[in-house]
């Protein structure tokens, strides 16, 4: 027995030794999606400001949110999340109220980008990219030009089993809300039931729910018409010039991915410097040029190569056009009804 007990002691000892060995807490820790900022950005940031920084990745908003909430927002300094999640961070008291004096590059933003509904005046979050949600399709395979959400939800015979919809709950419901002409933040139970029925019917003609590889399905021809974010549709366009993006006539939502500084950050100085660094016109332009997303940075967008906009027309959409669309907002207590509806749709046969 003695033997076993000492081996357990040894084991615990090893574990603790591991723990104390890792004390690189002075680095600025940034959590972002993979490939969402320039690979060399951190090195040049360190060079420019003298702050050491490391990048960690999250696959989805949900993962990083779960981690921030369960740990009370500790360990991270700057996180990239979509606007409804930035709103939650603010409401839960985890987001730092921004001191604009320390972010002089905020001046580069379009005036529209400082009046976003989820956070007017950029008090807790800074927009990083923005865009719309619509239809991405193979113009060589689909007859005519799709222009309505009904083309996705109620597809023609040729498109049966060749469409995909976004799996993330808010965007999935969003397609239904827009098709019915409702607000994307609708909470009325009857309208929610309408949308549920519509989406359950639509499920029958669907190939899959997919929010990661839908563009690859278009490229291979496995799918011909997919529900997509404009920026991701561009990945498909880059592989196959016959792929096109269209915003249905009933409208779209305006999605915004943001940067949030955590209140619990122990490196606030460096965190501000980082956000300010990203907002620099040249640095911010990287996102448009490489990940093909629109950035809300006027100085950056004006310097964009017109040839790029010609190849990816949705990059040319103006802030004015986008502001016509409603943003997804946190719906508070109605979230339970949303979750239930999504469960009903996913569980329907």
């Amino acid at each position: 027995m003695q033997h076993f007990r000492s081996s357990i002691g040894l084991l615990l000892g090893t574990c603790l030794a591991f723990g104390s060995g890792m004390a690189a807490a002075d680095d600025l820790v940034i959590s972002n999606w993979d490939g969402y900022m320039a690979p060399e950005a951190l090195d040049s940031f360190t060079e420019a400001t003298g702050n050491d920084a490391e990048l960690v990745l999250h696959g989805t908003n949900e993962e990083i949110m779960g981690k921030l909430i369960a740990s009370n927002g500790r360990g991270y300094d700057v996180v990239f999340v979509s606007s409804p999640f930035a709103e939650v961070l603010q409401n839960m008291g985890l987001a730092e109220q921004l001191d604009h004096e320390r972010l002089p590059n905020l001046a580069n933003l379009y005036p529209e980008a400082t009046e976003l509904a989820h956070d007017p005046g950029n008090q807790y979050s800074v927009p990083y990219t923005w865009g719309t949600t619509g239809l991405c399709y193979r113009s060589d395979l689909v007859d005519g030009q799709p222009d309505s959400w009904q083309d996705l939800l109620n597809p023609s015979d040729e498109l049966q089993g060749k469409t995909t919809m976004l799996a993330t709950d808010r965007w999935l419901l969003g397609a239904g809300f827009l098709a019915k002409g409702y607000s994307v933040n609708e909470t009325d139970p009857d309208k929610l039931a309408d949308v549920r029925n519509l989406l359950i019917e639509a499920k029958e003609s669907l190939l899959a729910y997919d929010d990661t590889t839908f563009y690859a399905k278009l490229v291979s021809g496995e799918a011909e018409l997919v529900h997509a974010w404009d920026g991701w549709c561009n990945y498909g366009i880059a592989e196959n010039a016959d792929i096109e993006y269209v915003i249905p006539r009933e409208g779209s939502d305006l999605w915004v991915d943001t940067m949030v500084i955590l209140k619990g950050s122990e490196n606030k100085e460096a965190a501000y410097e980082f956000v300010n660094y990203v907002l620099d016109a040249d640095n911010h332009r990287w996102a448009s040029e490489n990940i093909l997303y629109k950035v809300p940075n006027q100085a950056a967008m004006e310097a964009l190569d017109p040839a790029l906009i010609e190849q990816f027309p949705n990059l040319g959409m103006t802030p004015d056009e986008m502001m016509a669309f409603e943003q997804l907002r946190n719906v508070g207590d109605a979230q339970r009804a949303y979750s239930r509806v999504v469960s009903e749709i996913k569980a329907a046969n």
């Binding site: 084991l11 603790l16 993962e63 981690k67 500790r74 360990g75 490229v219």
Partner: protein, 263 residues
């Protein structure tokens, strides 16, 4: 126990099973040499992705972290789980609470254990890192090891233990000389199982890791790269991991043979 025809039947079963197990592996093997980045078209043979892989220190670092987590948590879980199994099976009286606690790690949804451990560690102001992943993986791993070992013990003849005790052996000696040798195949099976579970586990690792790069494991790295599907780089890594495992096995076989010339 075998005559010729039943041996042939056994070989047939084995080949069919191994074919099933290795079909997807051959696909990813082929894709790792595909010049194209998308898995949809074969555009020619290339070792380009292996070069990318070796240059990608993030992936290599994550793979090493995974190995550390898997090995340490497997050792801990094998030790704890085997003792637990022996203890439970010696006791004739089965307690419901005890059984529940032992089965629970297999049943509790991963996300619950993940969030529970993260909340718990941050409540206690516990520093997070690879060690917290190891602690957490040991929780479910030990339950799986315990279950495998118990399956073996159910058909164990406890009268030899009594005989050994009657002959004056102390309990530790009985454990080491009588029980453990019989259990070895089950313990090895349990350890392999634990290692395999740990090497692939994502959600608990993600939540119980520290926030920095130094505690990122391979599944965490790969899940976060899913945005672009699985790149051939990752396929190349999978091929490399399996190849290295086979090499390691071959070397250990060679060494064993050297030490035990009689075998």
């Amino acid at each position: 126990m075998t005559n010729r025809s039943s041996l042939r039947f056994m070989l047939l079963i084995l080949s069919a099973t191994f074919a099933f197990l290795y079909i997807p592996i051959s696909v990813l093997f082929a894709l790792s040499f595909n010049a194209s980045g998308l898995p949809t078209a074969w555009t020619g043979f290339s070792t380009h992705w292996y070069g990318e892989l070796i240059a990608n220190s993030d992936i290599i670092g994550a793979a090493l972290n995974t190995l550390i987590v898997a090995i340490v948590s497997t050792l801990a879980a094998t030790l704890l789980g085997t003792l637990l199994a022996i203890g439970v099976e010696i006791r004739r009286r089965k307690g419901r609470v005890l059984e529940t606690v032992i089965f629970a790690p297999m049943i509790i949804p991963d996300i619950v254990l993940a969030i529970a451990l993260l909340s718990f560690f941050s409540m206690l102001d516990f520093r997070m890192g690879l060690h917290t992943i190891i602690i957490s993986h040991t929780v479910f791993n030990l339950a799986f090891v315990c279950a495998v070992v118990r399956a073996r013990l159910k058909s164990f003849d406890w009268s030899i233990v009594e005989a050994s005790t009657d002959l004056g052996a102390t309990p530790p000696i009985t454990l080491r000389r009588v029980i453990l040798p019989v259990l070895t195949p089950a313990v090895v099976a349990g350890a392999l199982l634990a290692f395999t579970l740990s090497i692939d586990e994502f959600i608990i690792a993600y939540f119980t890791a520290g926030s920095g790069r130094d505690s990122i494991t391979l599944p965490m790295q790969i899940f976060s790269m899913i945005r672009f599907g699985v790149t051939p780089e990752i396929n190349a890594l999978a091929v490399l991991v399996m190849t290295l495992s086979v090499v390691a096995l071959a070397i250990s076989q060679r060494l064993n043979r050297g030490r035990l010339p009689g075998q």
